[in-house]
């Protein structure tokens, strides 16, 4: 029994039906982790992208290194690092929050590249026009660069969101009870892993198919206000 639901092991189908409510509770955790992690990745990635374009060489190079390092090392090890090392320095966070930070850090490396590509796709003439109108660097980013970049990068960002969603099961190893964690717990108690694991797989498949369709639609709706999206 878990979360007040009991499993029925009569047939695989009744088993599947009986544990579905439990897995759906896990799904909400999965979705929350992905949403929070992605929000963090969006903010952090933008900061990285802008710092990387800093006119101070040391700042730009350091940022480039940090981004490269984050991108070239596994999420799982980064997660372990945060989970075990932070408490040694007196920072004790709930497992869920640690997981969200790990997801956000790892994906900020990807999103910063997307931002960078988006910024570099803005024609030079736009920067020059902003200079000629005496806009500051900050005003140029705020009014000219970012508004033109955002519609262009939404589809790519959406794909990363889906990718992150599929990586959230990793959080189960630091005791976050998302879908996979719950499926494993059910398996431990019933000695029957395949049904719960298959269900988690199917739920993920449905989720990603829905998200991909959503992104596809978004892409069609997006071109607005005269921005050519290539």
């Amino acid at each position: 029994m878990m979360y007040g639901y009991t499993w029925d092991l009569t047939t695989p189908l009744t088993y599947a039906a009986s544990i579905l409510p439990i897995l759906l509770i896990g799904l909400t955790v999965t979705l929350q982790a992905a949403a929070a992690g992605f929000a963090l990745a969006l903010v952090l990635g933008l900061a990285f992208a802008l710092l990387r374009r800093s006119r101070i060489k040391a700042v730009a190079l350091t940022t480039a290194f940090v981004v490269e390092f984050l991108r070239d090392t596994p999420l799982l090890v980064q997660l372990f690092f945060l989970y075990y090392v932070l408490p040694d320095y007196g920072i004790t966070l709930p497992a869920f929050l640690t997981g969200v930070i790990a997801l956000g850090l790892q994906y900020s490396a990807y999103t910063s590249e997307v931002y960078r590509g988006g910024i570099e796709a803005i024609p030079r003439g736009q920067w020059e026009a902003a200079t000629a109108l005496n806009m500051t660097r900050w005003q140029t980013y705020r009014d000219i660069v970012i508004p033109q970049m955002v519609p262009r990068i939404v589809p790519t960002m959406g794909n990363y969101l889906v990718a992150m969603l599929k990586e959230t099961p990793v959080l189960s190893v630091v005791t976050v009870l998302e879908m996979l964690g719950l499926a494993n717990m059910i398996g431990e108690r019933t000695f029957e892993y395949l049904v719960p694991l298959s269900m988690v797989g199917i739920i993920f498949l449905l989720l990603t198919l829905i998200c991909s369709a959503g992104i596809h639609r978004l892409e069609k709706v997006l071109p607005k206000a005269g921005i050519p999206l290539r």
């Binding site: 024609p123 200079t131 005269g226 050519p228």
Partner: protein, 269 residues
């Protein structure tokens, strides 16, 4: 219509002090010297056209003035303000604040218009006055509509650049530059990216601007007949130097230098 534009200092008092002055300016791109010990000055209210073969450095003069390009040697002043600061750092040898101050006197119209595609025509013209000059939106819109009327596009104010023809886009770009009330307006081949049938409407706007206002104008153009009409002075540019300059009538009818003659023959046929 005069109220739309900045008040210029009257000609008599300014005659002594040029508004633009290049003294021994040298500009290099790597090993390539684009401007070589360049000397040049423009009086307030003067309309000067730079002509010459492509790659001769004409556009670079404008881009340096707009602080889009740094230069390596010599001195440049605008309205008495030197571009380089005594202890200035970076390629421009000036602080952002100093560059900001210089730019407040200059406007530029680009060959490829460079309108902001994500903003309506009206927003293109009001954005900088609001963000940079600190005007209220109502005030900026009032100013923008006057300017759009002047370039004949007040009815297009809610459209986006992609919905306009090239000629209309360039007229909006002129209004956008004027909205900042510059003392000096730079035109970098404003009609080169246009289909031939659209060139006229843009030249018309510039012509009116030249004849009715005491704005200082510096033009780079390949439209020779137009240069002859609007300019007080024409400078023939070749290999980073001014080869010959003078009143348009004389340059176009009796050029003294053989190179000028050759060039004019090649472009006028």
């Amino acid at each position: 219509m005069n109220k739309v534009l900045a008040q210029q200092p009257d000609a008599a008092s300014a005659a002594a002090a040029p508004v633009i002055e290049f003294r021994g300016v040298t500009k290099r791109f790597g090993a390539l010297t684009v401007l070589d010990d360049f000397n040049f000055s423009v009086a307030p209210g003067e309309k000067v056209t730079l002509i010459g073969p492509s790659g001769s450095g004409k556009s670079t003069v404008l881009r340096i003035l707009m602080t889009l390009e740094p230069f390596q040697e010599g001195q440049l002043t605008l309205a008495g303000i030197p571009y380089h600061e005594p202890n200035g750092k970076g390629p421009f040898r000036a602080s952002d604040r100093h560059l900001h101050q210089i730019r407040s006197h200059v406007g530029m119209v680009f060959q490829s218009f460079n309108l902001f595609p994500h903003m309506s025509v009206l927003r293109n013209v009001t954005e900088a006055p609001v963000a940079v000059l600190g005007l209220s939106r109502a005030e900026a819109e009032c100013r923008a509509i006057d300017l759009l009327r002047m370039v004949g596009l007040a009815d297009k104010k809610d459209q986006y650049p992609a919905q306009l023809s090239g000629g209309q886009q360039q007229r909006v770009a002129i209004a956008r530059a004027l909205a900042m009330r510059p003392r000096v307006l730079l035109f970098d081949e404003p009609t080169s990216a246009l289909d031939p049938q659209l060139v006229g409407e843009v030249l018309g706007v510039i012509r009116n601007l030249a004849s009715e206002h005491d704005l200082t104008m510096l033009l780079v153009t390949h439209e020779m007949r137009f240069a002859r009409e609007v300019s007080d002075r024409v400078c023939f540019f070749d290999k980073g130097r001014i080869v010959e300059e003078g009143e348009p009538e004389r340059i176009f009818t009796a050029p003294a230098e053989p190179r000028t003659r050759e060039f004019l023959q090649s472009v006028l046929g």
